[in-house]
Symmetry: C2
Subunit: 161 residues, 2 copies
Amino acid sequence: MPETPSRLQRDLKQNRPFPSVAQEAMLSLFKTVDDLRRGAIQVLEPEGITLQQYNVLRILRGAGAEGLPTLEIVTRMIEQAPGITRLLDRLERKKLVHRERCPTDRRQVTCRITEPGLGLLARLDAVVDRTNRHLLGGLTTAEQRQLIQLLDQVREGLPAG
Amino acid sequence: MPETPSRLQRDLKQNRPFPSVAQEAMLSLFKTVDDLRRGAIQVLEPEGITLQQYNVLRILRGAGAEGLPTLEIVTRMIEQAPGITRLLDRLERKKLVHRERCPTDRRQVTCRITEPGLGLLARLDAVVDRTNRHLLGGLTTAEQRQLIQLLDQVREGLPAG
DNA sequence: GACAGATACTTGACTAATCAACTAATATCT
DNA sequence: AGATATTAGTTGATTAGTCAAGTATCTGTC
């Protein structure tokens, strides 16, 4: 009994049904996030920073004046970034962060956001939040909470969560 | 009234609450997909192909013997790929696809999956499906359907959907 | 206090993604 | 038919991501 083709099938112009619900869910997640990512990037483009750079700046703003050691930033990042050193290099070149060797443990490098960095984030705060709401405008707040809960469950069930 | 911190907040070691539900949902989506992506990549690694290359091979298998013009592949891809030419270059170098200029419209290049390409996909089919089910093991099938529906709604509400 | 091992990055080599021209072929308009 | 526009794809230059190996520092252990 052929069901009506799913929205995702139409999006991907796929004729045959997905081999499993799990597979459709995976593709749906990947495609949706790819679309959302492009929307988010557009907002950051005028300021000349990438999504990951923006994320790092927010983490450092959250850390406050004490700053954070390099690898501690990675553990707080959304997307795993083995290239953290060079990402910070670029942010430092733009004067958005400042790094200095930690005096008590000279292996560590303490990273702090600079005034220009804070200014950039301040300029973006409102428009970023507005964009996020806009991008998820297809869902009510209640549905957004439901989505968050389902995603939590996914991550909870992951091998190396 | 301080609520208990969300799962995502703990994951990201963030102390302060998110400025909006939409923003938490966005981060949750990004983080979840990043985790899932790494799980998926591990399966493909032994065969020496990337997620996007795998995706293209599946699209070409779906297209059958007639093959597809290069840019038509892009429209069917999950993640937008401006680098489709070089992606196909790599697949052709591995003898997984074959390209030839279309005789009726010589601007187009028709791409087809080769026998070795089909063999590679055949080797992966079972394990990919198993992995997808495993990665989404935190959700029941009903919950997976619910997730798919929410994601459909998100894409439906997107500016350039 | 010397040595083994662990940490915290850093660097180099390679691969891949991105954006902006550019070429070739077809379609359209007059 | 000839000029112009559009489409399909490629190429080059820049930037960014990935993996393995290396360096400096610290933490125990004997």
